[in-house]
Structure formats: C-alpha cells, structure tokens
C-alpha cells in the first residue's frame, strides 16, 4: 500500500526539477533523498494539483481577470510603437507541434505529414509581454491550424473579451493558415501583392516572430517537454504536463520578464495578479 506525503515546497521542487531537463528519476534520488517511485508519485501529484487549481486560466480568455480593456489597449500600444501597421492588434496566435513517441493505438491520427513525425498540436495566443494567454490542446498531430481554431471555440472567447461596443475592438494576428475574421487578421495572401500589401506583410511578420520566442521559452526552461522519448501519449498525461509547464513559464515571465517583453518594452502582470490569488 502506497501512502506517502511530502511538504509543499519540496513537492513543487521535485516537479520543477523533473521538468527542468531530461533526467532519469534515478538521477534525482540523490538530490532529494527519496526513491524514484516516491519522486514520480509526488511530481505527478503536484502536476495534477496545479492543473486543478490554475488550469482554467489557459482554457478560457474570460477567466483572465487582468485581461481587461486597459490591458488590451496597453498591448496594442506597445505593438504599434514597435512599428506595426495595425493599431489595435493585442496578440499573436499560432499553432505549435510537440513530438511524441509513436502511439500503439491510432498512430495515423498523430502522424503529421508536414513534420514527418508523430506529434500533438497546441494552439497558443501570445501577448506582447510574453504571457501565453490561451493554450488549447492537445489535438492529434494530423489536424491543421484552421480546424483546431474552429474547434477550440476561441473566436467566441475573443468576442467576449476583445470587443467593446461597435467601434472599439482588438484583434489577434496569425499566419495565413487561419481564416481572416473581424477579430483575427492574417497576412495578405498570394503572390501578386501591391507594394503596400507587401510592406504590411513584412512589418507584421517581424512582429509575429515573437510568438516563436514564446514557444522557445517553455522548451528552453522545461526541456523535459522536448524530450520525445519520454513523451508517451498512452502512458503519461502529455497534455496536462505541457499545460502546467506553460503555467509555470507564465509565472516565470511574471517574475523575470523575457525576450518578448524586452522586445516590445512591456511589463507582464504581477504573479499574484496573473494567478488570480
């Protein structure tokens, strides 16, 4: 019969250490002075507690109390100051692919013909201060971005969060894979573009690279998530692990800032403000 317990701080450290770099549980025994089984159980337990307590923050934009009109205006202002032609863009949307081991069931669903490996997909919305405001997923690797966007119901959340009356609205900017809508802009498609259109695309694309830095941060801080050989869909809860790591990355951004915040010269919310505590 397994009945074990540990202190809060130690438990969080076990989970953080587990995520920090690809490591065997056996390697951590000497750091914490506990057996591998113990560390595994506690790390999983901490992951579930974080997801239960704060997971809702990434699921729905309307759960973010700090994402109000003033904040959206602040974001739009910072993006405009950086040279964006769109005056009311408050964030960037993109899909990300995380490699997993080949699942023994439904492997076709998880194979991305584009990336040529088995993977799960997530959809993220990145604010110019480096905070990932929304993370939807995991979706099977063969799905495409527009389909995920439709299924994620993000547009309804945008309607509730980013529209203030008839004249005031704030938009997201995505890559050409997304369908253009009132609150979601994309680059001009096609090859025959006017100079103005080409100029618009170029300037916005240099802003959009920031979203890639956001994905880069979670992987560089919590490299365990990038270790394909230990991302086993049918054995672990890969999605919850990625989500909780994203929450922790956002906490890290709140405390220490990041590359995106520096580029757009913005200040992320306070830790307690972000976590609604």
């Amino acid at each position: 019969v397994t009945s074990i317990y540990t202190a809060d701080l130690e438990g969080l450290c076990m989970y953080l250490r587990r995520l920090a770099y690809p490591n065997r549980l056996l390697d951590l025994e000497h750091l914490f002075g506990f057996s591998a089984e113990y560390i595994s159980i506690i790390a999983n337990q901490v992951m579930n507690i974080i997801n239960q307590n704060k997971g809702h923050l990434l699921n729905n934009l309307t759960n973010l109390n700090w994402l109000n009109q003033d904040r959206l205006q602040y974001y739009a202002q910072s993006i405009t100051t950086k040279g964006a032609p769109v005056r009311n863009c408050w964030g960037f949307i993109d899909g990300t692919v995380r490699a997993i081991c080949r699942p023994s069931i439904n492997q076709e669903e998880y194979f991305s013909g584009h990336k040529r490996h088995h993977c799960v997909k997530y959809q993220s919305v990145l604010c110019p201060d480096g905070i990932i405001a929304s993370l939807m997923g995991p979706y099977p690797g063969r799905r495409y971005d527009a389909g995920i966007f439709r299924e994620s119901n993000l547009y309804n959340q945008l309607e509730q969060r980013a529209r203030f009356g008839e004249n005031e609205k704030y938009v997201l900017y995505g890559d050409p894979a997304y369908p253009i809508q009132e609150l979601l802009l994309c680059p001009f498609p096609g090859r025959r573009l006017t100079i103005e259109q080409q100029n618009f695309n170029t300037r916005m694309s240099s802003m959009r690279q920031a979203v890639e830095w956001g994905f880069g941060k979670i992987i560089s801080d919590f490299a365990f998530l990038d270790f394909k050989k230990n991302q086993k869909l049918l054995l672990q809860n890969v999605g919850i692990m990625y989500k909780t790591a994203m929450l922790l990355t956002n906490c890290h951004t709140c405390l220490y800032g990041g590359q995106t915040a520096k580029y757009f010269n913005t200040n992320p919310p306070e830790l307690e403000e972000y976590l609604n505590t």
Partner: protein, 95 residues
C-alpha cells in the same frame, strides 16, 4: 541469532558461549541494513542551495519558489491519492 537462543533454551549451550554470541552480534557491522542516506543520498535542505543552483535546478529563485507555492495553491502536505496500491513498474511508466 534466533537459532542460537533456541539451542540455549534447551540447555545445550554454555552460558559464556551465549554471552559471546550476543556480543559478537552487537559488534558486527550489519551488512544488509537499509540505510536511506546510503541508498538515495542525504535529503538536501533546500535552504542550502545557492541562488545559481536553485535557478539551474528549479528555474526559480528560492524566495520566488515559496511565493509560487502559495500563489499556485499547493497544499502544505502532498499525499499520494487514496492510498492505492501501485507496483513499482507501473509508477515508473506513469512519468
């Protein structure tokens, strides 16, 4: 040792021999004893980590770790769920 006592109870062993056996047993280094610190290493007090060690291991500074525990609502005691039985192999495969 238990076998020795059994023989002594039946009076088939000299008193001095029993005394010697007890002393020998006490002084002998216990080879198979389970010592947590030898097997898993000593439990390191988190307060003894330097700031660099803390960041490289846990990505956060020590004072921020404590703040994070409160902000994330992690309870003071983390228990494994429902005292369920779990084999070692299953636990390994979970994470």
């Amino acid at each position: 040792m238990e076998d020795l006592f059994d023989v002594a109870v039946f009076g088939e062993l000299d008193y001095n021999l029993v005394q010697d056996a007890i002393l020998d047993n006490l002084l002998e280094v216990r080879q198979n004893a389970f010592l947590r610190s030898t097997k898993y290493g000593r439990l390191k007090n988190l307060n003894t980590f330097t700031e660099e060690e803390c960041i490289s291991n846990f990505r956060f500074k020590h004072e921020h770790l404590e703040r994070l525990v409160h902000a994330l609502g992690i309870p003071p005691e983390i228990r494994s769920a429902h005292r369920h039985t779990m084999s070692g192999m299953l636990i390994f495969s979970l994470f």
